[in-house]
């Protein structure tokens, strides 16, 4: 799931779902409809009419409607208000199970910390910190947010 909005403005929410159903065998239209309804996205709305938060929700609804072993979400909460963040995060949490992996790239550590199983810090193309979130917190005696400040401030 790319960071940038990438759905053409002329498509409706329904057509976005239909496009993905056409090209991805593991895409579930029913799951998409349920997610869109939960995120309060009307099927008839054009992408050009969606706010940035609504478009972020649509991107996630599309990604989460696929039965994929690996979901890669690049900055899923960018440009999203507080309420929409809660909806997106709860959708991510529900989507995660023992049969898949969700890889999230994000700078909003304070928001993401509570949903993470493992963390990886990348700096200048190198892994500088990696491990299970609980173990990292215990080892360093700090929250992930504090570690983030420490690693990236220097």
């Amino acid at each position: 799931m790319p960071t940038e909005p990438y759905f053409p403005g002329f498509m409706s929410v329904k057509q976005v779902g239909a496009f993905h159903a056409d090209f991805f065998a593991d895409f579930s239209t029913d799951a998409f409809k349920r997610l869109a309804e939960r995120m309060e996205l009307s099927m008839d709305m054009k992408v050009s009419q969606l706010s940035s938060g609504m478009e972020a929700k649509l991107k996630l609804a599309v990604a989460a409607s696929r039965d994929a072993k690996l979901l890669m979400l690049d900055e899923p909460l960018n440009g999203v208000d507080l309420l929409a963040r809660d909806v997106i995060l709860s959708a991510i949490i529900e989507r995660a199970d023992e049969n898949n992996t969700i890889l999230i790239s994000s700078h909003l550590i304070d928001v993401m910390e509570r949903v993470l199983d493992e963390v990886i810090f990348l700096k200048r193309g190198r892994v500088v910190l990696q491990g299970e979130a609980e173990a990292v917190r215990a080892r360093h005696g700090k929250s992930i947010v504090d570690l983030y400040r420490e690693v990236y401030a220097s």
Binding site: P2, E4, P5, Y6, F7, P8, F10, Q15, D22, F23
Partner: protein, 260 residues
Amino acid sequence: MMKLLKYELQRRRTLLPGAAIGMLFIEGAALYGIYRGGNWNTLAIAMTMLLAVGGLLLPMLDAVTKLYADYKQKQGYLLFLTPQGGYRILLAKTVFGALEIAASMLLICGCLALSAALLDRFQYGAATALLSSVGAQMGDALTTGMLFTFVGLAALQMIAQMCVALLAVTVSRAMVQSNRYNWLISLAMYFALAVGINMVNGVLLVAFGFVGDVMRLIRDESHALRMLGKYFAISAGTYAVWAAACTAVSGRLAGRSIDL
């Protein structure tokens, strides 16, 4: 493939009807000029030329701008993130463009037939007289053959030119994207390949005995139809191979070398 074509059609849900309506308006102006006659025939001629040129150029411009938008704008992710591959995506764009060109040619021919009918009605059978004169000199079969050959080769050549243009755009995004003059390189490449295809076609026609056949034709016109068929096949084959090669190279570059 059908799903890709469906998506291409969806993208043009306002352009295609708009273009068709525009062409009908232009034809309407041409018909008005024919109806009025006299100096108004100039309007008819100008509108007919606009219809023919615009109708043939629009599909090519449309194909190129849509592909460029897919490469340049974020909406390109939607297409290139599908598990389709560069070859299939470019082939779908070529097929759709070819269908647009064919539809445009049909519309143009229909408009020309309508203009001819009106010319006969309001200008004392001028169209019929012209066609009869040509038919008397060359024979009805040959006249019809030349008409179909001209229309068919024009369509095939436009399709080949479109494939060349798509390749030029793909090369500019795949290989020289960082060069500030990539648009110029793309344009130069287009003109070089567009001229090249006609040069290759000319060489092949000569190689298959075109000059000798023309000399024989002057002495004996009975083989004209067979000769027409022969050279139509050669040119059609040249354009088809050129179009296929350009599409294949574009597909490979789009699949491997495009950085969205």
